[in-house]
Symmetry: C2
Subunit: 145 residues, 2 copies
DNA sequence: ACTTGCTTCTACAGCTACTGTAGATGTTAT
DNA sequence: ATAACATCTACAGTAGCTGTAGAAGCAAGT
């Protein structure tokens, strides 16, 4: 069993954040020692590491709750899990695409920079790209019944 | 020139959020109409779209400010821009890697699900992966089974 | 046993990045 | 001209932490 401080160090997460996660129910209530200290097992560390990574990737706690429900209830009806997984996969794919666009632009800039000058930075254009993700204003003419 | 409502619709961003961004200086003070309404140009829409995408990807406003400074000051010393771009590129690469790990696991689950049962969901393991990103505590103890 | 020093405890205030609401005023369609 | 809606300012509230205060637990050295 690990102390909260150990868990915090292992996951690069603030002690208060761990207590906060327990409070909002995304981490289980930790059992306590004689002296009322929280005690954690490896599984708790894994769960917390998962939460932290997902948060850093920009997932809101509600999505993370969803994802965790997949591993918390491995016996739930398959189509429910499938729906959650598909929805999340969709999100993940979109994120990867946009990150790749940003990555390419940053690389282009760095390369150009080595050559001497930047002067034309297109980071904005790269992520503000109207074609692939925005309002349906201009693409709803496609599929009407 | 566009109204704030138009900009909000074009970028899928709340009107109040736009005013908030102006207030904290990440968007410029918009010029006003006769009747005191804010007026925006296409460049503002692009900038805002960029900010929104970056936020969705989990970048804090401070990082976004940094990125925007690249396009705001295209004539700044190259090494400063280079440092910012490299730092951000690094972040981006790490995010992409982790998202790919999550993607693979979600795909595995969905595939398995189509086959009938999930029962072994490893989303947590996938993102809590101690080998590639966490504290160096047990990096060396890894060799023992 | 005592003291020093660190960790953990609860409780609560403060922060970032929004989001919602109230009440007044501007703009547009009928 | 009047209704309906958009925008204005100002401020309160929310999510997701983060910091601080003050008390209590615990481990090491004397």
């Amino acid at each position: 069993m690990y102390t909260i401080g150990h868990v915090a160090r292992a996951t690069d997460c603030k002690v208060q954040t761990i207590r906060y996660y327990e409070q909002i129910g995304i981490l289980p209530q930790a059992p306590r020692s004689e002296g009322n200290r929280r005690l954690y097992a490896q599984a708790d560390i894994d769960r917390l590491a998962f939460i932290r990574h997902a948060r850093e990737l920009g997932f809101p706690l509600d999505s993370i709750r969803d994802l965790l429900s997949l591993s918390d209830n491995p016996d739930q009806p398959c189509d429910a899990a499938d729906a959650i997984a598909c929805r999340q996969l969709d999100q993940v794919n979109r994120r990867i695409e946009r990150l790749n666009a940003l990555k390419r632009e940053l690389e282009r800039m760095i390369k150009q920079c080595r050559g001497g000058k930047i002067s034309d930075c297109r980071v904005i254009e790269v992520l503000s790209d109207h074609g692939q993700c925005l309002k349906d204003d201009h693409q709803m003419a496609e599929a009407s019944p």
